[in-house]
């Protein structure tokens, strides 16, 4: 079976999920991102790599932060950017996803950044676009959010360069989290020896251990001696679906407080993909504390997204030459 993300020569054609990407490509993305971190600090925050290209942010599900960072990333690469909240336009008129995409291709979009509430939506679009079009998954249902997973490992690498000697805990709603799935694949592929997930059984997917993680239900045991704590957002609707009794009880058992964080290594860092629910999954003193790297995550997110777009555009140029 062909890997839909790679072209015949094994180069990145779409970024749909971290799963299925070789370590070499993940490292290539992270290393390329490294070179883009400096761009933001220059007076002129632009490089001309995507000049003349049109990047289309196609958001079938609402998002502010992810859409904004993708927009900034594309603009810093000198691309023309269109952002569409399809939720509020065509889809409500009954247009299918493919019709929307085809129309934008007819307007000569080169790259799609797609967010959709259904798992597999980005794969579906990638399967139906012509070969010169690139698709970046900006989150599909519970499945994948690869740039988030990659920016998280990028951030970790910045603070803890030796990935082969780390213990990482991911805490919270693993079941519904595309971020958690992407983080797990990124960490395990890059050789992090111990990845833990900490959650009540209601928020863990079936056979999660087959993804190569150690399962903990108790925060105290799970956080012991970890180098990195990755918190997940808990959505309010989980309280109504018999997943959890209340946000208060959740905070008591799984909320990250200074007390619980003390069980981790003294130099452990804390990540959160945002937006945070303070007092539900994370205490403000932790979110704003010295161990938090939550804002650097956002900054690095732009560099990582620039790297992915540049690599996709680059693979197209190389492909055209051959």
């Amino acid at each position: 079976m062909n890997n839909p993300q790679l072209d015949q020569d094994g180069r990145l054609r779409h970024l749909l999920s971290v799963e299925g990407l070789p370590k070499k490509i993940l490292n290539q993305i992270l290393d390329t991102a490294e070179s883009f971190v400096g761009v933001a600090e220059r007076e002129v925050k632009k490089v001309p790599l995507l000049r003349g290209k049109t990047v289309c942010n196609l958001f079938f599900e609402n998002s502010t932060r992810t859409r904004t960072t993708f927009e900034i990333a594309a603009k810093r690469l000198s691309a023309d950017v269109i952002s569409l909240n399809v939720n509020s336009s065509s889809q409500s008129k009954g247009e299918t996803i493919l019709d929307t995409v085809d129309n934008l291709i007819a307007m000569h979009a080169d790259m799609f950044v797609v967010r959709h509430s259904q798992s597999g939506a980005a794969h579906f679009i990638a399967k139906h676009v012509p070969p010169h079009i690139h698709v970046i998954n900006a989150g599909d249902g519970r499945h994948s959010h690869p740039t988030q997973g990659l920016l998280d490992v990028f951030t970790i690498r910045k603070y803890k360069p030796d990935l082969h000697n780390l213990r990482v805990a991911i805490v919270g709603d693993i079941l519904h989290s595309r971020v958690a799935r992407s983080e797990i694949h990124a960490l395990t592929t890059l050789g992090v020896p111990e990845v833990r997930v900490i959650a009540p059984k209601t928020l863990l997917p079936a056979q999660v251990e087959k993804m190569g993680v150690h399962v903990y239900h108790d925060m105290k045991a799970g956080l012991k001696d970890v180098d990195v704590v990755m918190m997940l957002r808990l959505q309010n609707e989980r309280m109504s679906g018999a997943m959890l009794p209340s946000s208060q009880e959740y905070f008591k058992t799984y909320g990250l407080t200074q007390d619980k964080l003390r069980l981790a290594k003294p130099d452990a860092i804390v990540l959160h993909p945002g937006p945070m629910n303070r007092g539900v999954e994370i205490d403000s003193s932790v979110a704003d504390g010295v161990q938090s790297v939550i804002l650097p995550q956002v900054t690095y997110g732009i560099a990582v997204r620039m790297a992915v777009m540049a690599m996709l555009a680059g693979s197209q140029v190389a492909g055209a030459k051959s």
Binding site: T96, L98, Q118, G120, H123, F124, G141, P205
Partner: protein
């Protein structure tokens, strides 16, 4: 019309025949096997050299999409698909629009099917009105109109008291209930087996327990009421074990498995292949092996195609939003043959699961090549490969998990009631 089918390898599971024997047909009936009757002069001779001659296949679960969903498929297209697949009799599900819960609708369907002179159609009536699981349908009237059994299609009766009454009432008159075992609350919004693959892909799962729980209630109520129950499309290893035990206890039950589930697992979903969005969901390798073993040891009686033609556009969506179902009528024979080859099962035994046992379950006088029986016959080349795809399928539903695959087993001639209705 007198037809002579010569030089074929005759396989008749019911009479346990696997031998090179000619068949002689007069006025729709088989009048001689092996030796030509002295006064027989054939109007037509079918040369079946190097071919297998077997009873026409009987499919226990088909959606014809008529009435109401003709944009997905029509009676004509699907009955042509049936005979192209060697299927000469089929039971169709009542989840049409309107639902098959009115005798008039059933009579109309039977009448229209009969006029087409293709495969025989045996409707399964809706067990409850509108398939709502609340009020029993008029089973007696529906039976008179032509229903051979009663089904809830993919919907469940959540109220166990209604299920109990339905079984009691059906048992009173000896009707067979065709039930699909899936507990609807556990299965709610699920689109794939709740396991490794669904977890990785972020698809909402349907746990095996959904089948096990529903099956436990059905078997228990069947035992209490003495109803004759056929479990449609079993999918789990635990389900197979439960049916095995229930049969040992003497319950009046039978069951089938879909050809898809004999060959595919959750891993075939791969990168969200919407053709693998099926009901029940494709499960694990362990389940697949248990289904196969169950079929071999007689726990599972029959193989059905679960033919569910879907419009191409309805599959053009992300996995969970893509309409469920796959075409199947033309794949039932090749997938049964593939199972036989893969599992080292004799053809005469494998074909019994799509002829002899299916006929018994429907209570119809068909599925064999006995003397004086109706000449519903399938003649096929077991060694000819063909590629599954839109151009090779007659069915209006072109979606199949097997698209692009080459399968062995090509139907050459199909006879219904002694008339040649398909030649390929």
């Amino acid at each position: 019309m007198k037809i002579h089918i010569k030089n074929g390898r005759l396989i008749d599971p019911k009479n346990n025949i696997d031998a090179h024997l000619d068949l002689f047909i007069t006025a729709g009936k088989i009048i001689a096997i092996g030796k030509m009757p002295t006064d027989f002069v054939a109007n037509q001779t079918v040369d079946a050299s190097n071919l297998i001659v077997c009873p026409g296949l009987i499919d226990l679960s088909v959606r014809l999409r008529e009435p109401g969903d003709e944009y997905k498929a029509s009676l004509v297209s699907e009955l042509q698909a049936a005979v192209a697949g060697g299927v000469t009799s089929l039971a169709c599900q009542p989840d049409t629009d309107p639902v098959l819960d009115e005798p008039g609708l059933v009579e109309m369907l039977k009448h229209r099917a009969k006029q087409l002179h293709l495969a025989h159609v045996y409707p399964l009536g809706a067990l409850t009105r509108q398939l709502e699981g609340k009020i029993l349908s008029e089973m007696g009237e529906l039976q008179e109109a032509g229903c051979v059994g009663f089904s809830q299609a993919n919907t469940a009766i959540t109220d166990t008291q209604v299920l109990w009454r339905a079984m009691e009432y059906a048992a009173t008159f000896g009707h067979t209930l065709f039930l699909h075992a899936e507990e609807p609350f556990l299965a709610r919004d699920g689109v794939a087996h709740d396991g490794e693959v669904a977890s990785r892909l972020g698809l909402k799962g349907i746990p095996s327990a959904a089948e096990v729980l529903a099956l436990a209630s059905m078997l228990r109520i069947a035992q209490e009421t003495g109803a004759k129950v056929h479990i449609s499309r079993l999918s789990t290893a635990e389900g197979v074990a439960m049916i095995r035990t229930a049969k040992q206890q003497g319950l009046n039950i039978s069951c089938d498995v879909s050809a898809n589930h004999l060959h595919l697992t959750e891993h075939d979903i791969a990168y969200f292949d919407a053709n693998c969005h099926l009901k029940p969901p494709l499960r694990t390798q362990r389940d697949k092996e248990a289904l196969s073993a169950g079929l071999k040891d007689g726990t599972i009686d029959a193989i059905c195609s679960d033919h569910t033609p879907v419009h191409d556009d309805a599959k053009l969506a992300p996995f969970a939003e893509a309409e469920l179902g796959a075409t199947g009528l033309e794949l039932l024979l090749p997938l049964t043959l593939k199972w036989a080859v893969d599992q080292h099962v004799e053809l005469v035994q494998a074909l019994a699961h799509v002829t002899k046992y299916s006929a018994q379950i429907l209570g119809i006088n068909s599925g064999d090549l006995s003397l004086n029986s109706d000449a519903d016959i399938c003649i096929f080349d077991a060694n000819e490969y063909w590629k599954v795809g839109a151009s090779s399928l007659k069915s209006q539903g072109k979606n199949s998990p097997f698209t692009g695959l080459e399968l062995a087993g090509k139907v050459k001639t199909t006879l219904v009631h002694g008339q040649i209705v398909f030649q390929g």
